[in-house]
């Protein structure tokens, strides 16, 4: 089998598996998996910038929230239907990431981390400041009547699962296309050796900016879908916690791998879920497991599989 055939087979099998699980999972896990797929889409967006371009952002909650609020405010205050609202969320994500990229990319390394962190904090405070519209910390609920797309009620668990899977599949296939494209390969080259890439004649700044926008757009779309599918928009999703999550998910699953974000998100979700059933000190258990993983699987789960087993894994 050629590497391309293997790659396609594996990823189509994963999507088919997720589709099949819809029919067999008990309700509780069924709901969890829908949530995990949306969050994994967020992580895949993060991975474009962190895993493939080598830019560590600590401010992706800004993009997730831009999508969520772009969608939510359009529904709440403009009476937009789900599709235009998702479009508004995506547009908000593109606008915010273009602005942030143009400014933050003038810095590198630790300064880039700090600048993205500060911007996200400013975004969080903005949400609180405009409490009249955003309802601040408390947030607002998106009513069931406003979550009907093409006659499908997205608050229904089965429909919600399909919608989450559709989002996840779209993001997965986009990333798969990206890593095989000329553009994606230049991003990897920038990650590996920026100066060399520049001296091969590539406009490094333009490529990084495009990567920030692509990453921001995917994160925003995930944020918009999260709000729409689970019916709630709140400031927590703009907080620093939601900037750290995708970093952890991607690190655990494998930075710069296509399936890593799904694996990492799923793993962390159930790690916290299961350990919280055992003890109230569940964050301690989660912490220990995370430390163990970073010691023994420093490239993340999918990264280790690639290093040891399947070198063709994209």
């Amino acid at each position: 089998m050629s590497d391309t055939t293997r790659t396609m087979t594996l990823h189509v099998a994963v999507l088919a598996g997720l589709l099949a699980l819809q029919f067999v999972l008990p309700a509780y896990h069924h709901g969890n998996l829908a949530r995990v797929m949306v969050l994994a889409s967020y992580a895949m967006g993060y991975n474009i910038l962190f895993g493939y371009t080598g830019l560590l952002s600590l401010g992706h909650a800004l993009f997730f929230a831009a999508g969520m609020y772009g969608m939510g405010l359009a529904v709440q205050h403009l009476g937009a239907g789900p599709l235009p609202a998702l479009g508004a969320g995506l547009a908000a994500g593109v606008a915010v990431s273009a602005a942030l990229g143009a400014l933050a990319l003038r810095t590198a390394g630790v300064a880039f981390m700090i600048v993205t962190l500060m911007f996200a904090q400013a975004g969080y405070l903005t949400v609180l400041y405009f409490g009249t519209w955003t309802r601040g910390d408390e947030g607002f609920v998106i009513a069931q009547a406003q979550r009907v797309l093409w006659g499908l009620d997205l608050s229904d668990p089965a429909n919600r699962y399909f919608a989450a899977l559709a989002l996840f599949a779209a993001c997965l296939l986009s990333v798969l296309w990206l890593v095989h494209s000329r553009f994606g390969r230049v991003l990897v080259a920038i990650r590996e050796n920026e100066e060399r890439t520049r001296m091969l004649g590539y406009d490094v700044f333009a490529h990084k900016l495009a990567a920030v926008i692509l990453s921001g757009a995917m994160s925003a779309l995930a944020g918009a879908c999260y709000g729409l599918l689970f019916g709630y928009v709140g400031a927590t999703f703009a907080s620093v916690q939601y900037s750290i999550f995708p970093l952890l998910w991607v690190l655990l699953g494998g930075a710069g791998t296509v399936l890593g974000p799904l694996i990492g998100t799923l793993f962390m979700f159930y790690l916290i879920d299961l350990s919280s059933q055992v003890t109230t000190a569940y964050m301690l258990i989660a912490g220990v497991v995370l430390v163990a993983l970073t010691l023994f699987a420093p490239q993340g789960l999918a990264g280790e599989v690639r290093a040891r087993l399947w070198r063709w894994l994209p």
Partner: protein, 236 residues
């Protein structure tokens, strides 16, 4: 016709005049060797040509166009290729992908890129290891990979910074033949310490010392120049 020229090109590092008032002219099609003792300013000078380093003063003209204010990637797109003195390949990417990255800026389509990559690797003698990680190559082979990445760009001007450093004698012989071959389609600016390479390949030699041009002439003239001998060959 002149492909590249500079006037008053200078670069100072906190008072150190690494390159100072260099007027340089390189006709199209020539193989020019740039020699000089360590610290003479050769690497800094070519860095100024391709835009890696910003000048303190002076101008660079390439193909009749003033490129002094163009960023490096734009200059490369005009037909310069630069290979680093300190080997700077993509260590965790495959040998073929290293060359493909250099090729894809100019070529579209997988078949064309693959063909160009294979041909460039064959020309430098690395055709046997396309799938190996570049970082696993020996130092000498990484130098050859750098050259392949330069060749595949089919540049008008190929700048090579000490390409034979770390090569075995047999590889140096192959390198001389390769340079003559490449010069059919490209102008070459070659920073070189190995005198046999300079004597056997260069049409003209420029000698730098303390950031300035000390002498210029044919290899035979330079070899006989007493000032050059004191500055360089004697200590060399």
């Amino acid at each position: 016709m002149s492909l590249l020229s500079t006037s008053g090109l200078s670069r100072h590092f906190a008072g150190l005049k690494a390159v100072e008032g260099v007027d340089f002219d390189l006709p199209e099609g020539q193989i020019r060797a740039l020699i000089g003792p360590n610290g003479a300013g050769k690497t800094t000078f070519v860095g100024l040509l391709c835009g890696r380093i910003a000048p303190s003063a002076g101008r660079v003209i390439f193909g009749g166009r003033d490129i002094s204010h163009l960023p490096a990637h734009r200059r490369i797109n005009l037909g310069m290729a630069y290979t680093f003195q300190i080997t700077s390949v993509f260590a965790r990417l495959s040998v073929a992908e290293n060359v493909a990255l250099a090729a894809r800026r100019r070529l579209r389509g997988r078949v064309r890129v693959d063909r160009a990559v294979r041909s460039a690797l064959d020309r430098v003698g690395l055709g046997a290891f396309p799938r190996q990680d570049a970082g696993d190559l020996s130092y000498g082979h990484q130098r050859l990979l750098e050259i392949a990445m330069g060749l595949v760009q089919e540049p008008r001007l190929l700048i090579l910074d000490e390409p034979t450093q770390g090569l075995a004698d047999s590889e140096i012989a192959d390198f001389k033949a390769l340079i003559r071959d490449v010069s059919a389609t490209a102008t070459i600016l070659l920073i070189e310490h190995n005198m046999s390479v300079v004597m056997e390949t260069a049409d003209m030699v420029t000698v730098m010392n303390f950031g300035r041009i000390l002498a210029e002439g044919t290899p035979a003239e330079i070899h006989a120049d007493p000032a050059v001998q004191t500055a360089y060959l004697g200590t060399g």
